[in-house]
């Protein structure tokens, strides 16, 4: 069956079962391997993408459920160079192995779009992605820096 999928601004027709997980369609059909497989049960967040602007865990989303929605992956987020979040990630030297960071950055960017200055408590509640290297202190520092009111020029 053919499914129309809008990924990173381009629409493609893909011959795939509607119950195929979006994560694996992105990785195996479209070659967008920046989105990672971690658990397959929406627990770890390594597969986080934006669907109509919301952070969603793509490993449990049947591709048929998101036909014609706006899907953005880490590749799409980075299409015009690093975003302020990615720059903050470099500035704070956040990643270690880096495997979870695509999902982490997608989750944080969706959060900051809704709530540019999250409190530490809001961050804890909203960002539940797993990082086994333990980059959490730097994620928190990077988000605090992004959330800080910018000095006027």
């Amino acid at each position: 069956m053919t499914i129309r999928l809008n990924v990173n601004g381009a629409t493609r027709a893909i011959d795939v079962e509607p119950d195929a997980p979006l994560l694996w369609v992105l990785r195996d059909e479209l070659g967008l391997t920046g989105t990672k497989f971690g658990c397959g049960v929406a627990q770890c967040g390594a597969c986080t993408v934006h669907i109509n602007g919301e952070a969603k865990r793509s490993c449990v989303i049947p591709v048929g459920a998101v036909a014609d929605m706006q899907i953005v992956t880490i590749e799409g987020l980075s299409a015009h160079g690093p975003t302020p979040i990615q720059k903050a990630w470099v500035e704070h030297q956040v990643p270690q192995c880096g495997y979870c960071q695509s999902g982490m950055i997608m989750a944080v960017s969706a959060l900051l779009a809704k709530n540019p200055s999250p409190t530490d408590d809001e961050l804890k509640t909203e960002i539940t992605n797993i990082c086994r290297c333990g980059t959490y202190p730097r994620i928190r520092a990077a988000v605090r820096a992004l959330a800080a009111p910018k000095a006027l020029p």
Partner: protein, 743 residues
């Protein structure tokens, strides 16, 4: 058979005294290296060091990238000795070839517990000794990243010396062209200068000449006071590619015509596949083949999810013999029995356990559970068997060892095997040699499908249920205090599934000690888990010493300091952490503060944890202050990141981590039933360095061991409840009762 101790280089610590010159490559080897790993315009001038025509220095790292930042810090060590312009320094992964074996690590490995000083090697043998050790390392196909050894072995005894020799060779090449003495030349920012005449050459102009000069095996090394690159927090090379999804891990490999494989391994360790019928998956879209292996069934399909869904529909029958009856309870009973009948003495100090006879012993028994590694990137490998050759791609902690393991799995000579070492989404010991089950399955799958590249990926469930677990260990203490309240006798009996653990030997000056180990082997596979033996003995020792301090009604920091009077580095590190944490300052009700200090992998780490215990028994870790003496940090921010990571790895395990055995197999399957630390668990973390002149210590692991006891000691301070069995979450109701009673 490789023991865990061999794999994690337990003897490497002793190599801290290894100061013989490292055997550097003669020009014939440089030519081989050029053929294998130099691009146009590049020349190898020394082991691991390439210089390009544009002056770019590329450090060819005989290690893997698993996120600890060693590609950058090893390059800093090379650039420092070379006097290279840091902006023109790069790093790349060494080919999985014997030429690039990490010899210095092999020397430590081979030496085991022996120290080698130049004084006890006859002068005429010195070069040979280093040389023969390197040959052995190559023979053993070592290219290991483990044992927190990259900086302290490969860096200190290898790359740094190779770079210093390369600098001397570049100087000699320039001096020859100018017809001046080498001593009149200097180096700065990737140039050789002859200041008297104002002439200079870039490194790139000299590389080819330099390569023809003989390297000195004892090049002059820079004194620490002259460092300008080592000791600075330069940004890591790899990070920009890790924030935009560009870094390609093993799981991201894509070869033309590639198929995907999913696996179901016998749930009971050691069980064999008796039968499986392909009927349930017949006619499903994209399925290419079902392959029966000794202890597993594999389905190969055109897409991973199709293979995964299909393998789940099969009904394989596994033969698990008597092992299907094993549970955590039966294993615990065996460990308990072993502590009574299977003890072997490992260390006796003073009168040992005899000193207890006349005194009333303070007793406690501790336990830690099995733990999974749960790397974020599940185990995977891609392989193709084509025209008699095997090609494999994967992230492992030993490229050469992986290549050898693949050759063995395929039944091919190693020359027929190419191995591509890729970055990995976490290692933590899971991807060390000896634990290459995932390569074996991938290679056997590829061998069954000649000509077709196949990527085998473990689901999270397969990854968690087929790990090599941090062992479940039991440790029993008996002690007696002297009239001054200080420990007079320390008796410790513990179980092990490997050699006795030197990590059970204590830092503290106690006049009578008896330490014994009881060997218990079960069918549950175990392996090195970030910080290995220190992860359990750190918890046991630092908890029990805390019990003794409280029994003596002494302050836990002051008590430890008294016992460390002959260890100034340890005392200073403990003092630094206590001071920065505000040790002794009162805390609000329901809060507690605990301390622990552990030396592992030649780094001393002390942690002070502040916790808040809620009335319902839940424990929140508010703040961790850590002091670290690793000699000096090559990249202080990178070292800080490793200690932070170690704290969170250990904290999550202490709070929640437990793998249990039921019906001979692992009861947990995925993160819902094996929780790990998340952002909500993350305390405020402060790290302070105590710089010393000690040899450089390891970075990847030493942050882990002190955190569990620092937390449980803090829980005791808050509630009077002593946690002797991890994880903490098992004891919520006990902690709740303690919390209520202490209000």
């Amino acid at each position: 058979m490789t023991t865990r101790r061999m794999v994690v280089l337990g003897g490497l610590g002793a190599a801290g005294a290894l100061v013989v010159g490292y055997a550097l490559w003669p020009s014939t080897r440089l030519a081989r290296a050029d053929a294998m790993a130099a691009k146009a315009g590049e020349r190898f001038v020394s082991n691991w060091i390439k210089i390009g025509r544009d002056d770019t220095v590329t450090v060819v790292i005989p290690h893997c990238d698993m996120g600890t930042g060693i590609f950058t810090s090893l390059s800093q060590m090379a650039a420092e000795e070379l006097d290279a312009d840091w902006n023109k320094v790069r790093a790349e992964t060494a080919p999985a070839d014997s030429l690039f074996a990490n010899g210095p690590l092999g020397e430590g490995f081979i030496l085991g517990g022996k120290d080698i000083y130049p004084d006890n090697i006859p002068a005429f043998l010195r070069g040979t000794v280093a040389n023969s050790f390197r040959t052995i390392a190559e023979f053993m196909d070592l290219q290991v990243t483990g044992g927190s050894s990259a900086i302290r072995a490969t860096g200190v005894y290898g790359i740094r010396i190779a770079a210093a020799a390369a600098r001397e060779m570049l100087v000699a090449a320039a001096a020859a062209r100018w017809n001046v003495a080498s001593e009149t030349c200097s180096t700065r920012a990737s140039r050789v200068l002859h200041e008297a005449s104002g002439r200079s050459f870039g490194f790139g102009e000299l590389a080819a000449d330099a390569a023809s000069h003989d390297p000195s095996s004892h090049p002059r090394l820079k004194p620490k006071e002259q460092y300008t690159i080592v000791g600075t927090s330069v940004p890591r090379f790899d990070i920009p590619h890790k924030v935009n999804g560009a870094t390609a891990y093993g799981i991201d490999v894509r070869e033309p015509g590639m198929l995907f494989a999913a696996i179901r391994i016998s749930p009971v360790f050691g069980g064999n596949l008796r039968s499986v019928n392909a009927a349930p998956i017949a006619g499903r879209r994209g399925i290419h083949k079902m392959i029966k292996l000794d202890d597993a069934v594999v389905v190969v399909a055109d897409r991973f999810w199709r293979a995964r869904d299909a393998v789940a529909l099969l009904n394989p029958v596994f033969d698990d013999g008597v092992l299907g009856g094993v549970t955590s309870a039966t294993i615990a009973a065996r460990r308990k029995a072993a502590l009574d009948d299977a003890l072997k003495s490992d260390l006796t100090v003073g009168s040992g356990a005899d000193a207890l006879k006349s005194q009333k012993a303070i007793e406690a028994t501790y336990q830690v559970p099995y733990l999974a590694h749960a790397t974020m990137e599940p185990m995977n490998a891609t392989a193709v068997y084509r025209n008699g050759n095997l090609e494999v791609w994967s992230g492992t902690q030993d490229g050469l060892g992986a290549r050898a393991a693949c050759a063995e799995s395929a039944g091919l000579p190693i020359e027929k095997v190419t191995f591509h070492l890729l970055p990995m989404g976490g290692g933590f010991g899971r991807r060390l040699p000896g634990f290459f089950d995932f390569l074996d399955y991938a290679v056997k799958t590829a061998m069954a499908m000649p000509g077709t590249p196949v990527k085998l990926v473990f689901t999270r469930e397969q990854d968690m249920q087929h790990d090599f677990y941090r062992p479940n260990v039991m440790s029993r203490f008996r002690a007696a205090l002297g009239a001054d309240g200080m420990p007079a006798v320390w008796v410790n009996d513990y179980t092990t599934d490997d050699d006795p653990n030197p990590e059970a030997h204590i830092l503290y000056a106690i006049p009578n000690q008896a330490i014994s180990a009881a060997l218990v082997r079960t069918h549950v596979p175990t392996g090195p888990w970030r910080s290995v033996e220190a992860s359990w003995h750190g918890f046991f020792i630092e908890s029990f010493i805390d019990e003794l301090a409280h029994r003596a009604k002494a302050d836990p920091v002051a008590y430890r300091l008294k016992l460390l009077a002959d260890k100034p580095r340890h005392a200073a590190t403990l003092g630094l952490a206590a001071r920065e944490a505000g040790w002794g300052a009162p805390l609000a009700r329901g809060r507690g503060r605990g301390v622990a200090i552990v030396e592992s992998f030649k780094s001393i780490v002390c942690q002070v944890a502040d916790v808040t215990v809620a009335a319902n028994g839940s424990v929140k870790i508010d703040r961790v202050v850590s002091a670290v003496d690793c000699g000096m940090a090559v990249n202080p921010d990178g070292m800080r990141a490793q200690i932070e990571g170690g704290i969170l790895f250990g904290l999550g395990a202490a709070q929640y981590g437990e793998i249990t055995i039921d019906k001979g197999s692992v009861a947990q399957a995925n993160f819902p039933d094996y929780p790990v630390a998340r952002l909500a668990d993350c305390p405020d973390i402060e790290i302070h360095f105590h710089d010393s002149d000690a040899p450089l210590g390891g970075g990847g692991e030493p942050g882990v061991p002190p955190i569990a006891p620092a937390i449980t000691n803090a829980i005791f301070a808050a509630t009077g409840v002593r946690i002797r069995d991890l994880p903490i979450i098992k004891h919520v109701s006990l902690i709740a009762r303690g919390a209520t009673a202490s209000l």
